[in-house]
Symmetry: C2
Subunit: 339 residues, 2 copies
Amino acid sequence: MTSRPRLADVAARAGVSMKTVSNVINDFRHVAPETRAKVQAAIDEIGYRPNLSARNLALGRAGLIALVVPQLDMPYFAALSGQILEAAARHNWVVLIQQTGEDTSVERDALAGHFPQRIDGLILSSPRIRPADLRKRTDRTPLVMLGERNFQGIAQHVSIDNVAASETAVNHLIERGRRRIAIIGTRPTDRQHPRLAGYRRALRAAGLPESDDLIRPIRNNLGEEGELQMAALLAEHRNRPPDAVFCVTDWVALGVIRALQTHGLRVPDDVAVVGFDDIPYGRAATPTLTTISPDRAAIARLSVESLLAQMEAAASGTPYEVSEQPVGYELVVRESTGG
Amino acid sequence: MTSRPRLADVAARAGVSMKTVSNVINDFRHVAPETRAKVQAAIDEIGYRPNLSARNLALGRAGLIALVVPQLDMPYFAALSGQILEAAARHNWVVLIQQTGEDTSVERDALAGHFPQRIDGLILSSPRIRPADLRKRTDRTPLVMLGERNFQGIAQHVSIDNVAASETAVNHLIERGRRRIAIIGTRPTDRQHPRLAGYRRALRAAGLPESDDLIRPIRNNLGEEGELQMAALLAEHRNRPPDAVFCVTDWVALGVIRALQTHGLRVPDDVAVVGFDDIPYGRAATPTLTTISPDRAAIARLSVESLLAQMEAAASGTPYEVSEQPVGYELVVRESTGG
DNA sequence: GTGAAAGCGCTAACAA
DNA sequence: TTGTTAGCGCTTTCAC
């Protein structure tokens, strides 16, 4: 056995044509059961495995979908990527993971289709891409956007309902008797921010006052940033600190907890904290973190399936109607809001 | 423009042959500068990008290397994978990430070369694979093993010196005046465990007593497991708890810290804690975690380069001598051992 | 239900 | 230094 067995070798061994072997491999109907068995036996005997480069070349596809995320070592994206890998594998796709390192130009390049390889589809999870960027896009590669921003009618978007989820989180704080609730991770003027919108809706529904000085922005999604902003908040409200904080991500929430503990405040007794994302650390932290847990498996599955649908639409000339595709989420109550 | 431009289109436009275009694309010497410029102009004008399926088919390679890790959402592997992605991209490889989910049979399948695609090389990071598994391997795909176990002369192994690194970590505790140092994450009888060996070496060098009841195993690398084992340790040594704990991973260390705080012990005042791996959470935890930080970028780079060297050796018929390839590490001192 | 042959886009002999 | 051409291994018309 000098080289790997080819389809022709299987055909020779089974005494059938290449077409028949191909039919068996691709699970086509209209193959006589005994022919199928004979071919399968030959495949097993010589240990044949198809050469994907050749198949993809013949089919005119790349066999590759790209997943663009900020960084793989950010826990939310690591978990998400893991799920997408599995969903893609179920459709025989290899996932080309591209890290942007928070570099907007890399994200724009990805949108424009500038990849080291040709790709069949693109899943883009990038907090920085705006609807305007998408409108400029001319590349026709099937695209799915992830993340909290809305892309109404511009691109297929798979996401939880961030407004409702945030409202749920803040309602939970209100139900636990909290009245002075801060939000860390957005600026009061950001009208497009769904998590801020949910926060406001919950306060309003409960008849609680909204005050912009309990809203603090972050420059990036890091624990250090949460720590900094929480410290600033405490400094500004020395006499009357908030009794709860809603953080736009778990990662920020961990920093917030650090700042609170550093300043001698107890979590949740003095200040309750809720995060967002349900990253693995939330369960190992002290205290464990209450959070919104999106159904990541569903996000992965629906994203991959949408790519497939877009390809099929393109192949058949049917237009593909983009939509906002909602997925489920759950409030996970842990120690940081009193268990 | 009905279909994507091909190499032949570039050749026609530039008025040269396909061979010349190929030479330019692959950056061969012996192309007249002006010819090169002309071809490059044509490439830019029609927006040509090579079809990798066709190239790989012609070259008889897959253009793919596989990376096998337990789970992408385990922070150490997420960070490592991110680095390997980048190192591989520099050599024009796409990385097929395969998650084993701690399933040993999946790991064995990977070793045997059972992938959904053909691959050019394999990087395997799996705590469960033993030298014996490797000896049975007949598949000739270039292989690099990662992780703490040694594979002397059986497979290329890229890793920090785990014995020395552990000794460094424990020495640090000793220098801070700790005398009763526990280790969590191994059983006293495991003679092959490099981190246990380093722990023992440090104690012996300092003339400290070794006692097997300060050594606790874990069933898997989880915070919950660290918490459990630390609680058990405290229960057994109620009167005289250890004054420091060396944990075989950061993930376990976070659980250990949880258990200590739950039992009213202060970290590091009462008990100092050192972890291993330098996962991102260590910086966001309270207290921040002292740890051994392996040079992950070097691990990634050397792994990919070794695959390349193995392929070249195979192509030229030269034997490839496997070795233990050491990479650097660093002790990062943070709050959990007193800053 | 099965077979023969053309072609997917690229590389690399071999020629010139 | 550049051109010609035969494959790489698979799918897929089209005939049987």
